[in-house]
Symmetry: C2
Subunit: 508 residues, 2 copies
Amino acid sequence: MKVQTTRTFRVKSIDVKFTQATIILNEEDALQLGIGNGSIVLITIGNKQHTAIALTSKTITERGECILPVELVYKLGLSDGDIVGVKPVGLPSSFSALKKRLKGEKLTEVEFMGLIRDIVNGIYGEAEIAAFLVSQLYNPLTDQELSYLVKAMVETGVKVKFEETTYDVHSIGGVPGNSKVALLTVPIVAAAGLLIPKTSSRAITSPAGTADTMEVLARVDLTVDEIVEIARKTKGTLAWGGRLNLAPADDIFVNIERKLAIDPEQQMVASILSKKLAMGVEKLVIDIPVGRGAKVQDLSKAEELASIFIRQGSLLNISIKVAITYGGQPIGTSVGPALEAREALKAHVEKRGSKSLIDKALMLAGLILEMSGKAQPGAGVEIAREIFLSGRAYDKFKEIIAAQGGNPEIKPEEVPVGRYSYTLKSPIEGAVTHIDNTAVNLIARALGAPFDKGAGVEFHAKIGYRVAKGDPLLTLYSNSEARLDEALALLSELKPIVVEGMLIKTIP
Amino acid sequence: MKVQTTRTFRVKSIDVKFTQATIILNEEDALQLGIGNGSIVLITIGNKQHTAIALTSKTITERGECILPVELVYKLGLSDGDIVGVKPVGLPSSFSALKKRLKGEKLTEVEFMGLIRDIVNGIYGEAEIAAFLVSQLYNPLTDQELSYLVKAMVETGVKVKFEETTYDVHSIGGVPGNSKVALLTVPIVAAAGLLIPKTSSRAITSPAGTADTMEVLARVDLTVDEIVEIARKTKGTLAWGGRLNLAPADDIFVNIERKLAIDPEQQMVASILSKKLAMGVEKLVIDIPVGRGAKVQDLSKAEELASIFIRQGSLLNISIKVAITYGGQPIGTSVGPALEAREALKAHVEKRGSKSLIDKALMLAGLILEMSGKAQPGAGVEIAREIFLSGRAYDKFKEIIAAQGGNPEIKPEEVPVGRYSYTLKSPIEGAVTHIDNTAVNLIARALGAPFDKGAGVEFHAKIGYRVAKGDPLLTLYSNSEARLDEALALLSELKPIVVEGMLIKTIP
């Protein structure tokens, strides 16, 4: 019904990074197109099209000319002087689905597909996406709806399909020191002959993600083709999933969730499962750490979350096992990319390490072995331990490091850590009674992790350890002296480690 | 705790209108400031400051230079080459209030003030504002919270204070043809000697707002100083409230509500009351039209909304009377700025007009007269009628038109309407049984209203009128032949007026 003419414009590029796809038009041209500042337009080139937000200018764009950021020019395969069509976009057809959602009505599979496709195509701004996410805080999706959401997120991105059964393990995170666990689990599983092409994220609010930690030892910014090639050869990868365009809607959602500091439970499930399904994963172990300062604070919440995963597993045809694990203090003895990479490597070399690290890695690997039938129920851990102790896991890890372009022969002590350090000593004799996850994360971030790979915290004692007065409790590392000072201030303010003795006070 | 240095940059302006305050920095400078694309920064000039979203460029900005849009340069009183300070902004302190809101906790007066101030200062993006609004769909504010919100919206904008008691009337709208009512009510009230400095909005989704309609006869884009000056002289104004910076948070909220097609009830109350309180209004009549196709569809909803207004009135110390009025079909016989301006003017000249228009205008004016004590309870309408019939209201209207720069002697027939027209005739003998508000709004918009002032719909018959076959039912007007064609298609599709006869069908 609407009179909507496409007009053509000559492309001129501008070297500015915008936060969303942008086109700058001459004010008069915009008026003739019937659009204003901030309107959404459709740019067409042949049969390709892309939406963008229109800005206007009286002078920097001539009539008949449009200015596009270089990134968009490149993405659309254009050059300066090329001609593109531009027309105003009315309300997208999926808008009715968003309206239904905000009215508390249920959406169909087709409606989710339309909504997510338009989100991925950049037709919606932050307001609409925030509305969709915030509605979930109050009005959760049904199981059926959640499965439609996940499917739509998978279908609107790149999909990988391997010839053999594909396994994966994923921790919902939140516990410091956890990023290194996969550096043991993945090689063990791959060494058992199972395909585990793991992709993981970089840290968002934590000091290290598995991708940050693996990056200390090898390249992680692999393409999809590289991952497929390496996984076929080595059975395992430890890659960064960020730019692979797997379930790209997820990245858009995560960006808004971060802005709003919200993390709707169902959206977290959708985020994890969509990425895994896009990678062709068929059997998946989910690790939910529970404890003070972890993402999930109590067991009943963890069980609730686990049951959402299990129900989605059957709706989405992916076999899922959930491990609820202890997350009340850091995993292992280190927090931060280089320190954690070193700790994982040391465990491989020495075939031993911190109990919390080794037990967790073997348990998760064991669960996968049981799912595959390589181990009888209950016997997975022992087979995993055998693979770990025999050195087959380390051999596999070296193979993966080499395949991802790293030096497989690197020794733990060769991994460089922060050049400035400070060791905190126990002021009294006693026992460590508390390590505060949140404080540890904040201090490691203050030290520069994850961007400064060498920054982080190393623990010399953990909960339950007995210490003498003057014994080292932890060491802070950073490559910036200023950041070390900053972290020291936080250290005395937040008291991340608590030693308690029998003697409480003396009266003079 | 954070290391945050302010760096200085040389200002260069760029003639592009952005959708929010923007600064473009050289990528290297951004890195040194520790900010990325899309980060929020604080720009400081002496003791003034403003937040902006940072974009980055490798080449179009030199090191040490920042590019600001001309509007922002002007707003900050800068010139090219001036030096400003720029520093990253961490999470705004009011962010904790937003988080509390999303967790379902109540906010204090201080928290609302901080949140609204940061919204007005442009510190939040659309995601955060959408989250605040969407949360209200599910978790309404308490009365106390709503009053804090209104106060914060008033305090963060321009405030006007007159020396004498200030009256106003406001319709929540939604019914076609309603925009002209104030062109009768305001002059009647002002002619009675009461101060009624009315500001109103332009149409957002309807074919005409009071500001659009008054603009056919006079200037409405007055400054605050002009409104105050005119109101002191004539007692009444009919101005546009859009650019006066009265409760500017409201404009920000409305923009996002439109994008999401939501209209949280409490936010509507906050919107109206904040604008009125900012204009210093102490006694206010609210008109809630009820009926099929109006904003409020049934009486119980209207009563609920009325009670929110009444409760806020006592919390905010503004005296409020609510009139629930019939809104099941258009008010008067015309819809669209010029047609409605003509109808209002004609009513003034002839001292009569469509019953729905005259009754409504007199009733609303009467309520104000009663609130002021100029009329005894129940006697307001008669005094209003006397002022209207005596011509004192028309004299006052002419005075207001002249004060606002219009021609007070203009005759109704001199008001230009659309040059293309089409008259729909009744296909049968019968009675008009239904006029569809929504269809009328859509058709008037399709004809070009409110931007094409002459576009709109004129009714020759309304509900209950008896018509012969071939009698005219309505006439469409537009200044665009293409738009008239478009509207004709809609007319046959939507059937905005229904005539029913006794005879339903004949068998051959």
